[in-house]
Structure formats: C-alpha cells, structure tokens
Amino acid sequence: MQKIKKYLGIVWIILAILSVIILIITAIENIASKGGADIHNPIPWIIIITIYLPIAFGFALFGYYAFKEEYHV
C-alpha cells in the first residue's frame, strides 16, 4: 500500500499538469468559436483559469508530498 501511495504521487503530478494544458487549449478553442453561450465568453474562462491554476499547483504539490512519502502512516 505504501508503494502505491508513493507512485500514485507521480500520477497526480502528471494529471495536474495535463489538466491545466487541456483547460487552456479548450478555453482558446471555445472563445475562438464565437457564440452567445457562456462557454464562448472569455470572462468565465479567465475567472476559471485564474482560480484553477493555484488548485492545479496544489494538486501537483499533493502528488509531490505523496511521492516523498509524507502520507505514509
């Protein structure tokens, strides 16, 4: 179990980085394809990306702590 905890840490770091990349690409694509819905409006995207970046950093940090065996009991 301790090994699973440790190596899953890498998965969380990768997921954190991937989620930011996907979010930014999706934002650019949806803002570019203009329309009346919220998903085509840049304001929600700016708010979401701004608030999500520190969360993604936190997720990567969680992965780092897991990899460093900080969650071993």
Binding site: L8, D38, I47, I55, Y65, E70
Partner: protein
C-alpha cells in the same frame, strides 16, 4: 462538554443562521432572470459583463477568499463573533439588493448589485466553517457526526425555503405585480430572518474549546501562515480537498442542481412538475443527512463518504438515462396532434410580426408535448424557415410522479452520504487553533469551484463532437472517481487530530 439540552440550543442557533445564509445565496440564483432584466440589460455590453462577473465570481473566487478572511478571524477572535459577522453581512447585502432602484432610474445599479453579490459570496465563505466548528466544539467526540449533520441539512433546506418563498410570493401576486415589485419581497424578508437569528446567536457563548485556548493564551497569531505555511498542516488541507471535498462538491451539485437543469433543459419537463418533484425528493432525503452523520460516529466517516462517491460514479449514467427515457416522446405512441398558429405580437418600430406556431401532441400514456416555434414574418418571406425561438415542454401523467421522485431521491441520497459526515470529518482533521481557517478553504474550493463548475463543464462537454445527452456527466463521474481513489488510498478511517 455541553449538556444534551445545551447542545440543541447550539445546533438551533447555528443551523438557523446557516440556513438563512443559504436562503439568501439561493434567492439571487432563483431570481436571476428577473434580476438580469431589472439590473443588467443585455443590450448594454458593460452590464452584460457585470452580470457574468456576478454569476461566476461570487461562486468561484469570492467564496474561498471569504473562507480565508473569516477563517483567520474566527481562529483569532473566536467562532461566535465571526459567524455573527458573516450573518450580518449576508443579511444586509440581501436586504439591500431588494432596495436598489432598477437600471432605468439608477445607472450604477449593476455595479452595486455586483458588489453586494460579492459580499454574499464572501459571507457564505466564512459562515459554514464557523457554524460547523462551533457545533463540533460543543459536541462530545463520539457524537460529532450526528450533531454536525444538522448543519449539513441547511444547504438543502435553504434551497427549499427559497423555492417556497418565491413560489408563495408569485402565487400571491399578479404576474405584473410580481415583475414590478413583488420579486423584491424575498430579498426584503431576509432582514427579518437575519434579525431573529442574530438575537438567538448573541445569546450563545463562545465555543468551549476555543475559549479554553484563549484563556491559556494558545490561540494562533497567524492562522493562515500556520494552516498553509507549515507542511504538516498543508498536506492535510490538500488531502481534505483532493480526497474528500472535491468529490463531495461535484456529487452535491449534481444531485441537487444538475438534476433540475437536466429535467428542465434536456428532458424539457415542465417547470412545475420538475420543481415540485425535486422538492418532494429533497424533503424525503433530508433526514438521511442526519442518519449518515449519526452512522459515521459508529462506523467511521471514510467508509460512508467513499461509498457515496462510488455509488454516484457507477449509477449516475443509468439513473439519468432512465429519467431521459421516461420523458422521451420517441418512446411513446401518439394519439392526436393539434396545431395552432397565431400572429399576434407586433415587433417594435415596424410593421413586422411574430408568427407563433403551437403544436400540441397527446400520447397514449397521457403525456402531453407542447412545441412552440416563433418565426419573424419578414424573415419567413425571404424563404428562411428557421424559427427565431423554439421551445418544447413535456407534461407527464401523474402515474410517473413516484418513479421520477424515486430516481431524484436516489441522486439526493448519494448527496446525503457524502455531505452528512463531511463537517465532522473536516473538523477532526485539524487542530483547534487553526481549525476554522484550515477546514473552510478545502470545503469552499471543493463545493464552490469543483461543484460550482458542474453546469459550465457539463455544457462544454455536451457541445463537443460525438457527445450525447449523458456526456455532461463525465465531469462529476471523473472528479468523483479521482477523489474516491485518493480517499481510498490516503485517508484513514479515524483521522482524528483533535487537540
């Protein structure tokens, strides 16, 4: 610890205040359409921008900041006065929204509304952690789950109260009176509710655990630094967020709000049936918040939280698919179709008119489908037969009532499993001196950001190529699954750090 009689006063004072805060927060959302007509005219790009900010910023940005700001205050000066302050800010802001003249007479109205809405988000961010901490610190350790679960019912009951107040106001007034001034009444009523709650809360004493820390001079000087600057505590904040509140937030939001949107917009079920049946399911499921809080004292918080998440992950698609199937008219046999065309509405400043085509279809199971299409006459004459507006409303026969209520009940039942024990779980994860700050942030990121994003991300997924009516569920399913794995691997069933 508190006597049995005393604890109920504590629970009542905390729960009533938190319920009122939720009520205040929800009425803005429930009356969003009329607020946008009165204060944010869409033809003006600045006001449209402010409306978007009011919708998104209050839920996403401001709530976590409220958690930090009031959490810090609560760990420094005490729980009682901090969550009294959040109540005053929330009640005052809500009351003032009901007093502001409309955009036509007061052009600064959108800015004032945005400011008040942000204050509401800030206050909500500070309220929950205070109420949960206050109750938990009065409760005996072996009954924390049970006593704090009463606070957990307030989010659902706040939604119910807001719906009841709005529906009662609408039914008591003519449509014209409600649109002119009646919509202000639910906002103005807030001041009465808040005053009553303030009087109750003023009579309460400070939490015994915090009072003891204060007497001993052991309160935190800088709770934010201690909560997030020290690795020992920061890693617990991250664990609380990614192993519990993130999944709990999406399941809470999907069960209570996405279900409503799905029935109204995807299934086209009529609003009265949707809201009434949802209301019945909420009432029936609410006692389970308390049941699972109580059960978590017996068998642990983790097992209940994770079981709720896993059930949601596996059963969301079959349940939503069944809801869609019941309302899908393609599965039904037509009896008769009646088409009615009217040309009554004359568009402003022209001789043009709007043609309304209403098609009513009856089915063998007594389902009625009403399709309304509106065409602009001058556009039709150019050969373009695309309707300007198109709307479908399905009214189901009453024999479907309990089946739909049952399915919604199951969705809310998952909410009660993940939400009932969460306050006790969060409170027990952190030491008393930084508890308010440490628990508030993961709670509001989990619920405000991850939960609040459910409608936006779900809409985003459903417009992607190859998606269908169930594709929006991949977001709560995915987040729920990641949270389940993290919770399963890293959380301990008795992660009590109570000091």
């Amino acid at each position: 610890m508190q006597s049995e009689k005393g604890i109920w006063k504590v629970i009542a004072a905390s729960s009533v205040g938190t319920l009122i805060e939720w009520y205040d927060f929800y009425i803005f959302g429930s009356l969003a359409i009329i607020i946008s007509e009165k204060f944010f005219p869409p033809e003006n790009t600045t006001t449209a921008f402010l409306a978007t900010l009011a919708t998104f910023a209050a839920g996403f940005i401001v709530r976590p900041f409220g958690a930090l700001f009031f959490g810090r205050l609560g760990d420094m000066i005490g729980r009682k006065y901090t969550f009294l302050l959040t109540l005053i800010i929330m009640g005052g802001s809500t009351f003032l929204i009901g007093c502001i003249p409309s955009y036509q007479t007061f052009h600064f109205a959108p800015y004032v509304i945005l400011f008040l809405r942000l204050l509401q988000g800030l206050a909500l961010g500070g309220e929950y952690g205070g109420a949960a901490t206050y109750v938990a610190e009065h409760a005996p350790e072996h009954k924390r789950g049970y006593y704090t679960s009463w606070i957990q019912t307030t989010a659902t009951l706040g939604l119910l109260v807001s719906l009841v107040v709005i529906i009662t106001t609408q039914n008591s007034l003519s449509k014209e009176d409600f649109n002119n001034w009646g919509w202000r009444l639910p906002f103005l009523l807030s001041i009465v509710l808040v005053l009553v709650s303030i009087i109750i809360r003023l009579k309460m004493k400070e939490s015994p655990l915090f009072a003891k820390l204060k007497t001993e001079g052991k309160t935190s000087i800088n709770p934010i630094k201690e909560s997030f600057g020290k690795r020992q505590n920061l890693k617990l904040v991250l664990l609380a967020l990614f192993g519990a509140t993130m999944g709990q937030g999406v399941i809470w939001y999907t069960g209570q709000f996405y279900t409503q949107t799905f029935l109204l917009k995807t299934c086209n079920l009529n609003a009265i049936q949707t809201n009434t049946w949802l209301g019945v399911a909420l009432i029936l499921a609410t006692p389970f918040f308390i049941f699972f809080g109580w059960l978590s004292d017996k068998i642990g918080r983790k097992i209940i939280l994770l079981t709720g998440m896993l059930l949601a992950v596996f059963l969301y698609r079959p349940i939503f698919s069944e809801l869609f199937s019941i309302t899908n008219t393609k599965n039904k046999q037509e009896v008769s179709t009646n088409i009615h065309i009217s040309k009554t509405v004359v568009l402003n400043n022209s001789a043009d008119s709007l043609i309304t085509k209403t098609t009513t279809t009856n089915f063998t199971d007594n389902t009625v489908l009403v399709e309304t299409e509106k065409y602009v006459e001058s556009v039709v004459k150019t050969g373009n037969n695309q309707p300007k507006e198109s709307k479908k409303i399905i009214t189901l026969d009453s024999h479907y009532k309990w089946k739909i209520i049952g399915l919604i009940f199951i969705l809310v039942f998952f909410v009660t499993m993940v939400y009932g024990p969460i306050a006790a779980f969060l409170v027990e994860l952190f030491p008393t001196k930084i508890r308010y700050t440490s628990m508030s942030l993961p709670y509001h990121i989990g619920n405000g950001v991850f939960g609040g994003l459910v409608p936006f991300i779900a809409t985003l997924i459903t417009v992607m190529p190859g998606s269908n009516y169930l594709s929006g569920l991949w977001y709560p399913i995915g987040i729920g699954l990641i949270c389940f794995i993290i919770g399963l691997v890293y959380l301990s069933n008795n992660q009590v750090k109570n000091s």
